[in-house]
Structures are given as C-alpha cells and as structure tokens.
Symmetry: none
Subunit: 293 residues, 2 copies
C-alpha cells in the first residue's frame, strides 16, 4: 500500500534527517530499529516509511523523551495496530464528524495522538479535515449544521490540547482575532504552536476589542500580539495604524492577511506568512531585531 521499498542509502538518510550514520547503525544494533532492507552486498537501504518513523522518533526526543523510550514507543505503536497515516485518519475524522458521530471522532483523534506527534495531528489530521469540510460547505455538499458541529467539536479538541499544554518560560505573547471575526480556529492553532515553541501564550479567544487587548498586553508585559484575520473587512474597517500602539510588535495572520499583506502594514502590523510552524521562528527573529528578546 505504501512506499516500503528501500531506496535511500545511509548517507542520504544522514543528510535528510541530520542523524549521523554511526548513530543510525548504533540504534539498529541497540534498539533493533530501524532495520532497513539490504542491498545484495549488504548495504542498508532505508524506505520512506523508515524516514517517517525516524521523524517521529526525532520529534519525540526533541520533546524530552529519552531516545531508548522514543524508539520503544514507536515500535509499540506499530504492534498496537496498523500505522495508519495522517491522511487516512483525517478522512476518517471527516467521515465521523459529517455523521455527527463525535464518539467515533474522539476515537480517531485519540489514535492519531498516540501514533503521531502533536504537530502532525494538528497540521495533517485536523487542519485538512476542517478545510475539506469548509470547502464542502461552500459547495453545498455539507450543511451549515454539519459544519457547525464539526468546527465546534474540533475547536474544543484543539483548545483542550492548548489547556493541557502547560505554559512555558519564554517571552509572553497575546493571541486573539481581529474584532468582528467569526472563526477562531486559526488563532487557536497559532496559539498552540507558539506555546509549543516555548512562548508563554495568553489565548483570549476571538473578538477582543483593541483597547482591551492593549491594556491586557501591557499588564502582562507581552512582547507581541498575534491576531488572526479571515475576513478582509476586518482589516479594511480599521483606521490607519490602528494596530501600531497595541504592543511593541503586532503580527496579523490568517487568510485575509495573506491575500492582502499591504493592508496589514497599513495598520502598523506585520504579516509573517500563514504557516503556524514557521511563525514561532519568524517571531523570534523579529523580536531579536527589535531588541525585545
């Protein structure tokens, strides 16, 4: 079904994964994993599946799990059941939600969290599912009620993840949406990734008035405010430089910001792309540049 053919030499894996070849061999010897195919002459040939596994393991290690445990966890996750990829899980999640079967949805998500790192679940399971349901709604394939139930359910799921992920020691940020926005899921995902990247994140939910945002950011001594804008009108209806005074640095993301970065600048804020994974990095660069780190 998938790409299990060994094609990558150890040097290629070394390059792509930033894992020394010596280490790869030691892992194989010590933990029995990965155990790639061999060429007729005995050279290791890693498959795409092996790389995927290594990505997981590396991710877990970076989360503080001991290497031996990370490998063990991965091997166990295999014996539990077939390692269904995020794409499959995402489709199953969509299916469950469209049938209003939140119990099934819960099962799918819990399996996803067991098999994959949080980032993968959010970006490759939940996000695509939301996007497909949103598209389906625009096309009339999905009813408003189905869309409501699904996004409400997933929002809850993401937020409980945010709640469970304790605060950090890094610089403080405030996350919300622009006033008037209906959809908060983008900002929720952003908050999640930023907290995961080590920032201390205060997530205020959608629709905080700008004046209150400013007061709150000052009281918590936040280094930056991150806002999401999905509707162009949220940007257009604000006066020139309206965001500038809110905090030392104000970042706006979201679909509306992506399609019109100029108007973000007009408001005195910055657009840093729309991938929450990159945002943490861009933000740290910007904070350092501005001497706010």
């Amino acid at each position: 079904m998938r790409n299990d053919l060994g094609v990558y030499t150890i040097a290629e894996v070394e390059e792509r994964m930033s894992l020394s070849s010596a280490l790869l061999r030691q892992w194989e010897r010590r933990y029995g994993f990965p155990r790639p195919e061999r060429s007729p002459g005995g050279h290791r040939l890693y498959s795409e599946t092996d790389l995927e596994a290594l990505r997981h393991i590396k991710q877990w290690i970076s989360e503080g799990v001991a290497p031996a445990q990370a490998v063990k966890r991965y091997l166990e996750s295999l014996t539990q059941e077939g390692p269904r990829p995020p794409e499959t899980l995402s489709l199953e999640l969509e299916e469950a939600l469209l049938q209003a079967d939140t119990e099934a949805a819960e099962r799918v998500l819990s399996e996803a969290y067991r098999l994959h790192p949080v980032e993968t679940v959010v970006m490759d399971v939940i996000s695509p599912c939301l996007r497909r349901i949103g598209d389906g709604w625009h096309l009339g394939r999905v009813t408003t009620a189905q869309e409501h139930l699904s996004s409400t359910y997933l929002r809850g799921s993401l937020q409980s993840l945010l709640n469970l992920m304790g605060g950090s020691l890094g610089p403080t940020l405030v996350v919300s949406t622009l006033p008037g926005e209906q959809h908060e899921i983008g900002s929720l995902i952003t908050a999640l990734f930023l907290r995961r990247a080590g920032y201390t994140v205060h997530y205020l939910g959608p629709n905080t008035p700008l004046a209150d945002l400013k007061a709150f950011a000052e009281r918590t001594r936040a280094r930056a405010i991150v806002l999401s804008a999905m509707q162009p009108i949220s940007l257009e209806s604000l006066p020139h430089l309206a965001l500038r005074p809110l905090a030392p640095l104000v970042v706006v993301g979201g679909r509306a910001a992506a399609s019109d970065p100029r108007s973000v600048e007009r408001l005195g804020a910055r657009y840093m792309g729309n991938d929450p994974r990159d945002l943490a990095e861009s933000l740290s660069v910007a904070l350092k540049e501005a001497g706010l780190w």
Copy 2:
C-alpha cells in the same frame, strides 16, 4: 487519560519541574512517591502522570503546605474525598484565571474532577466562577480581556469534557443557541448534562440558522431541540411561532427565556426552567406526554 508510560529521565523532570534530581530521589525514598518506572539499567523513567502529580504537590508546597503533607494529600486525593470543598476550588479557579495563569487553573480543575463528580464541578466550581467573573466585568472590576480569557478557557474545558463523554443510547437531541447569541456556555453546560443523563446529544455550537437546525434535526431524527437565549432581543426578533416547525419539541432556556417565558411560548417553544440538572427530567416527562419517547 493519556500516557502513563515512563519516558522522561530525571534530568528532564528536573528541568521541567524545577525540582532538583536529588530532591526527587529523596522524596521517593522518604515518602515513597513518585515511584517511576525504571529502565533496564535502573534509571528512573517518569510518566506524564507523574509530572501532573508533581505539579500539584509543588503548587501546594508553594502555598505553604509541608512537603510531607502535600505528598500525603495527593496520595489521599487519589482515593478519598479531600477536605477542599467546591467553593474553595471555585475561588481558586477564579483567582488563577484572573491572573491569566491557565496552568494553575488546569491544576485546580484537575483536582476538582478527581475530588468531585462532574455535575458538582460544573455547577459548583465552574458555573459560580463564570458568574463571579461576569459580575466583576459588569462592575468594571474585571477587564474585558480577563473575561475573554476566562470564558474561552472554561468553554474549552467544558467542551473537552463533552467530547470525552461518549454518546449514549437514549433519545436524540440537538442543542444550540438562538441565532445572534454571543455566549454559548449555557448551551454547552446544557448539552453536557443532557448527555450525562443518557440522551444522545448533538451539540452544534452557537448561532445555527433555524432552517439548518430543522434540516439537521430531521436528518438525525432528533426528538427535541434545546436552545439557549441570553439576550432578550434574540427572542423578540423572531416571528410568531418561528420555532414551532423545527422539531416535535423545542425547548428554550437561558436568562432571556427565564425573564420572559411568555415570549418563548409565543414562538411555539417551551420554557422548562433554567437548571440544567432538572432539564433532563422535565424533558423526559414532556417527551413521554407527547408520545415521543
């Protein structure tokens, strides 16, 4: 819940919890807790659950509880009913949220869930806390941002509870708010209690258009629709008997419904009081009367 597998080394715990490794070992020797798993070579491997426990214990110590007592309290809280009543926990929760310390809030809630049944936590810990924060906001004691953060956080917490509480076998209900409502927490709590009472509940989140509600209720063969109304205008702006055709039985609750039950009847729906604990019972009576059970 999730991972009880030991994966974190003592150094990792030392870093995350700011507890010296020597102290962790002393606690284990003196109090017998935590007693993490061991690697084949004898190294301690702490689980996520251990970390959670340590967070509680650290919190108590910082409040002045003697370490030995804090550990004892934690071990007891796993079995018996601890001495801290819901009122105290509710105040602590409020305190934590007003300080934007969601980590502390999480600890309080997790203790509350361990000590008390879900109904008690929702009605005597979370609800009073929300009410006090709402009142404080009206009086200007609490800023809009604080109110936002708190209600967003608690909404997430309630929803994850709803998500985790699997569906049931009882009659199907649909829960949402009237169109135009801002606050969904009332309907969320209602959904929670109804699901807990054995109904199969589809929670659609706030603001579902009436036409979609009707279509969804028909498709899922829901026996009743339960809606929440906080703002009087949501009731007043609807035409005569607007709710009647949505489902065999339509129930409206919430502050606006309580203060003007007549207008609920005018819309062709029923008002059944505002206590979610009673609603399940009233609903079952009404369904039986109408031959819908």
